[in-house]
């Protein structure tokens, strides 16, 4: 297990290194810099001073090495747009909001898709199944920004149940998290249904029934536990979708999270912020995928045996 973990961490670091390199050179391929905000042509001397300030007069490889050094110490450089603030500061400021949003939507996903998947599997091809599948298809296909605006219009504006903008209280998070989670709910419900259908026909489920256990106990203790394995994998990968989805959701609900900074930095051509947030998100994603793999090995003994047997 330890060896497996170590090799996974090493491959994670290599992947991360490649991502950083790619992002860095992509961003440096764009002409422009901190002095591009002014409408008028700047005095060459001012440009020179600005370039010196942001170390843009160094050769590219030098900047690259400095940037790598910076990442190790969590220093992602100064923002071009927010004068005197570093990208790390922006991320630190937005992180609590974005993470609350993400955690709440993961919660929504689990709360909604597990029971819906079970119901659909148990009542296969009946009305309940059809209904659940229809809802999950809607969730999967309707873009989150459409959902978000529909929610704002009807639930916040017409009915007044939820606040419209901001991130001040718990109520502010419900609609954004819901809008964010619907696509994942759609996918996971489907997956959970398929996994449950697989498991329900296994012999050990028949054994459990034969022992005289109640259907609910069989479903929750025996079936769900085994059906949850593919779900956990997918949930790990969906963290990416939740994070990128939060770009628009935060914008629509005017929440000052990382996603909103990211979108702003794009329209402001604030390259260090774009770069920093990309790398930051990649780290979160890679780590969450690693965590999922570890959990995976922990709940599914078959994986453990395999990883021991194979060298890779």
């Amino acid at each position: 297990m330890l060896r497996y973990l170590l090799s996974r961490i090493i491959s994670l670091l290599i992947t991360l290194f490649i991502i950083i390199t790619l992002t860095f050179f992509l961003m440096h391929a764009i002409p422009g810099g901190p002095y591009d905000f002014e409408e008028q042509d700047l005095n060459p001397e001012i440009i020179k001073i600005l370039e010196q300030k942001y170390n843009l007069d160094d050769p590219v490889w030098r900047q690259y090495v400095d940037y790598l050094k910076g990442i190790v110490t969590f220093d992602l450089g100064p923002s071009f747009f927010y004068e005197g603030r570093s990208v790390t500061e922006l991320i630190n400021q937005g992180f609590p909001i974005t993470s609350r949003l993400a955690i709440l939507s993961i919660l929504f996903v689990i709360i909604a898709s597990v029971p819906m998947g079970i119901i659909a599997a148990v009542r296969r091809n009946r009305f309940a199944d059809r209904l659940v599948m229809f809802i999950s298809t809607l969730g999967r296909t309707i873009p989150s920004f459409v959902m978000a605006t529909v929610f704002i219009y009807f639930l916040s504006y017409k009915l007044g149940w939820f606040p419209i903008y901001g991130a001040d209280s718990f109520m502010h998070y419900i609609l954004p998290a819901l809008a964010l989670s619907l696509a994942t709910i759609g996918r996971l419900t489907r997956l959970n249904r398929a996994a449950m259908l697989d498991v329900i026909n296994q012999d050990y489920i028949r054994t459990a029934y034969a022992k005289g256990l109640s259907p609910s106990k069989v479903m929750l203790k025996h079936a769900l536990k085994n059906a949850s394995i593919p779900m956990i994998t997918v949930l790990g990968a969906r963290v990416a979708t939740l994070l990128t989805g939060s770009f628009v959701i935060e914008r629509i609900f005017a929440m000052p999270g990382i996603g909103r900074y990211f979108i702003q930095s794009i329209s402001n051509r604030d390259y260090p912020t774009i770069m920093g947030i990309t790398i930051y998100y990649s780290i979160i994603l890679l780590v969450s995928m690693l965590v999922v793999d570890i959990i995976y090995g922990w709940i599914d003994p078959r994986v453990r045996v395999q990883s021991k047997g194979s060298t890779r």
Partner: protein, 395 residues
């Protein structure tokens, strides 16, 4: 002796004529015509009502996108500042039998017919900001419009009040209403359909080409090359796709062309993996060996034997990639990175509508409906194709 015997067998010309089976003579009658693979796929596809519905929506969409803009002489960028922000459903005040009055949410006055056609804009001749009153003259009559409190009141010279006599009349001039610049929303949505379809189809073609070549070469080459190529795919896959699309858009700059290229460049990863998996399972089969024995070169085996046999799953993946591409374009445009003004994609329209959501919800509603319906239709078709091409996958 024996030689002589053989010579005695006389073979005439008639013996070389092939035997023809006579019609109606002892034949094994097939219960039904044998079906080709694709006929069978189509038979299964037809059984799925949702997929048929999806296909119908897509045909309608293609039809609208291709022919719709030709039927009007207006363009997506034509502005008419006099006719700005008119909703699709009008509440009309009755003036006389033929003429009705419509007051928009931005308090502009329009003369309309009974059926909801807009005749002209009425300019107010006085706007009293203190008392919140506007007045305008119509056929010699002076009308006063008071907006100090809701409901707004319109009073004639002789103190008769006008009331809304016809509610929710369909706007005949601009069926889906107009935006802030007086551009017709329906026309803009039709042009948006063009953009969405172009993005969906071209981006899928781009990632189909890259995916097939990359996955095919990787699987066929095998060994170290395969390992390296797939490692690279794994690394790219671990970057959130949307993030990577956004980064490339920042580098390339916005515009329809760059959107298509970027989405094509990013979404081939899944295709490559699927093609590779298919070809790995096919490449050791006998027909490939037969082709090799007959001296076929690698690229011929790949292009003529392996890829056509992997076509089923590839088509399913393409069908699934189209809505993903359309969705991504809408997302990018919504964020402000997609097609550039005055061109309008559905995402742009939705984004522009966001500011006035409370007052002009229709500006958001219709583009959102178009996006959702399109993505839904393509997904239904994709699901149907998957089930009918590989029935084993059906759960």
């Amino acid at each position: 002796m024996s030689m002589n015997k053989t010579e005695t067998i006389a073979i005439t010309e008639a013996d070389w004529v092939p035997v023809k089976q006579k019609v109606g003579e002892r034949t094994e009658v097939n219960a039904r015509k044998s079906m080709t693979y694709w006929a069978d796929v189509w038979r299964r596809f037809k059984q799925n009502k949702l997929s048929l519905f999806g296909a119908a929506v897509i045909f309608l969409l293609i039809f609208t996108a291709v022919f719709g803009p030709m039927m009007t002489d207006q363009s997506y960028s034509d502005q008419d500042r006099d006719l700005s922000l008119i909703p699709p459903l009008l509440d009309l005040y009755k003036l006389d039998d033929n003429q009705y009055l419509f007051v928009s949410s931005s308090m502009d006055f329009f003369l309309t017919t009974r059926g909801g056609e807009i005749i002209e804009t009425i300019e107010p001749n006085r706007d009293d900001l203190v008392n919140k009153e506007k007045s305008f003259t119509l056929r010699g009559q002076e009308y006063t419009f008071n907006y100090s409190r809701k409901p707004w009141r319109i009073v004639k010279e002789n103190n008769d009040e006008l009331f809304i006599s016809r509610k929710n009349v369909w706007n005949k001039t601009n069926p889906l209403g107009t935006d802030t610049l007086g551009r017709d929303l329906w026309i803009r949505i039709m042009y948006g359909a063009r953009i969405s379809l172009i993005v969906g189809l071209v981006a899928s073609l781009v990632n189909l080409t890259i995916g097939i070549l990359y996955g095919g070469i990787s699987a066929y080459a095998g060994g170290v090359i395969d390992n390296i190529m797939m490692r690279f795919v794994d690394i790219l896959r671990s970057i959130p796709r949307l993030l990577y699309v956004i980064l490339l858009m920042v580098v390339f700059g916005s515009g329809l062309k760059t959107v298509v290229i970027t989405i094509g460049l990013v979404y081939w990863l899944g295709m490559a993996r699927i093609v590779r998996g298919q070809i790995l399972s096919l490449k050791n089969q006998e027909f490939v060996m037969a082709a090799k024995v007959m001296g076929a070169k690698s690229n011929r085996i790949l292009l003529r034997h392996l890829i056509p046999n992997a076509m089923g799953p590839i088509i399913v993946t393409v069908a699934m990639n189209i809505p993903a591409a359309i969705f991504t374009e809408a997302f990018l445009s919504f964020v402000g990175l997609g097609v550039s003004a005055p061109q309008a994609s559905w995402g742009t329209l939705a984004n522009n509508a966001l500011g006035g959501l409370m007052t002009y919800p229709y500006l958001l509603f219709f583009p959102a409906l178009a996006i959702s319906l399109t993505v839904l239709a393509f997904n239904f078709v994709g699901d149907g194709l998957r089930d009918s091409i590989d029935p084993r996958l059906r759960k």
